[in-house]
Amino acid sequence: MSAILGRCLVQRFGRQVALGPLDLQLPVGGRLAVLGGNGAGKTTLLRLLATAARPARGTLELLGLDAGRQRDRLRARLGYVGHQAGLQPALTALENLELFATLHGVAAGEARAALALVRLVPLAGRRAEQLSRGQQQRLALARAVLHRPELLVLDEPDASLDAEGRGLLGELFEGRTVVMATHDAALARELCDRALLLKAGRDAGDPWALRVVGEGRQS
């Protein structure tokens, strides 16, 4: 079964085509690195996969569910960290995760477990705004796995992470389907089993702008 099945995905901002057309398929348990320069369409693609945006054209199935019509069911099964950490700055690290435990309908105890997973327990009582950028990124990652999602969608998760933090990514990916955008090809090779190279994704309607490398398929 495919964890991700996208057909002819296109995303537009106004008249400008930001992505696609793109076919995408990723099996359950697969780990896909999305590579490409600035403005190549990586974030646009990830936002589609995270159900944060709807494609202008094409169909997208995630974990066997329609990404457009079954968003609420899908969101319980996927975790997303975008470009911004998206934390509540005035809340402590633990309060941030407890809030999201409530939003996901999971036990409050999961918040502390997620905090332990990213080695932030000693900073549980510190406000998010007082954490360093790398610690904030770890907290955002903890939030993304708090509800034990099957699919992780991460936009440059390695940004601001130190060596220990980057080491955590492998642990968080364990047993999950992962799509991550990164500029670090070495990290992509280390953590992922296939890669999608996006090039000039903003060129209007160029079907050859998107190319899969490594073990991935041509799209």
């Binding site: 944060a52 709807r54 969101r75 998206g86 934390l87 700055p89 005035a90 809030l99 939003l103």
Partner: protein, 225 residues
């Protein structure tokens, strides 16, 4: 049940952030007192005119305090990405919206806790439990609508301009009926004896129900992409 749990968690989060940051409440309290001082001089209010002008001044101050309070409900969180993080959970946009509206209503109620005693001091307004109940009742519907438009305008660059343009015309029913209700409450006559608008408190309650339902239904389309 789950809807309420999410709404309360989001409201608690917003109020906690405000209590820790103390950004909005002190400024709103100052605004309220300054507005009353200005009204006092502008209308040359004396003890005779004060109670007569009170309902109008009250709603004028409340409407503008509401614009400030609701205007900040979504804008900051949308920019920082924390609103999107909440919306990408299975909690549902309506529950998140309800929580934020609840918190905004709480902030406006706190503002009213300063406004009403200040009105008694500056304008000699007779403040009774009925006046308080009337103002609180109007706050519910105003918060629902204000937050809906705040969510809508937060998506635009000209949000500071757009929010008043959208919200003020729709708040007119609250100002008209609320003004009448406060007038009746301040006069000391029993509400049942009032005409029309007859039972202004009931009309206010009807508006609350209508606008809360409309806002809850529209929230999903406004918040979700």
């Amino acid at each position: 049940m789950r809807f309420m749990a999410v709404a309360l968690a989001v409201a608690r989060k917003d109020l906690r952030a405000e209590l820790r940051g103390r950004e909005l409440l002190p400024a709103l309290a100052q605004f309220v007192v300054l507005a009353l001082v200005i009204a006092n001089f502008a209308f040359d209010v004396d003890l005779v005119q004060g109670p007569r002008l009170s309902p109008g001044i009250l709603w004028l101050v409340l409407v503008f305090a509401g614009l400030v309070a609701f205007g900040r409900t979504f804008a900051g969180e949308r920019e920082s990405g924390s609103l999107e993080a909440m919306l990408l959970t299975p909690a549902g946009a309506a529950a998140v919206f309800a929580g934020k509206a609840l918190a905004a209503a709480g902030l406006l109620a706190a503002c009213e806790a300063v406004l009403l005693p200040a009105m008694a001091v500056f304008l000699g307004s007779p403040i009774s439990p009925l006046v308080v109940a009337t103002v609180l009742l109007a706050t519910v519907g105003m918060a629902a609508l204000g937050c809906l438009f705040a969510a809508l305008s937060a998506q635009t660059r000209a949000r500071e301009l757009l929010l008043p343009v959208l919200a003020l015309p729709i708040w007119v029913p609250f100002v008209v009926v609320g003004g009448r209700a406060v007038q009746v409450a301040m006069s000391g006559q029993p509400l049942g004896a009032a005409s029309l608008a007859g039972q202004p408190l009931l009309v206010l309650a009807d508006f609350d129900i209508l606008f809360v339902v409309v806002a809850a239904l529209a929230a999903r389309f406004v918040l979700d992409d």
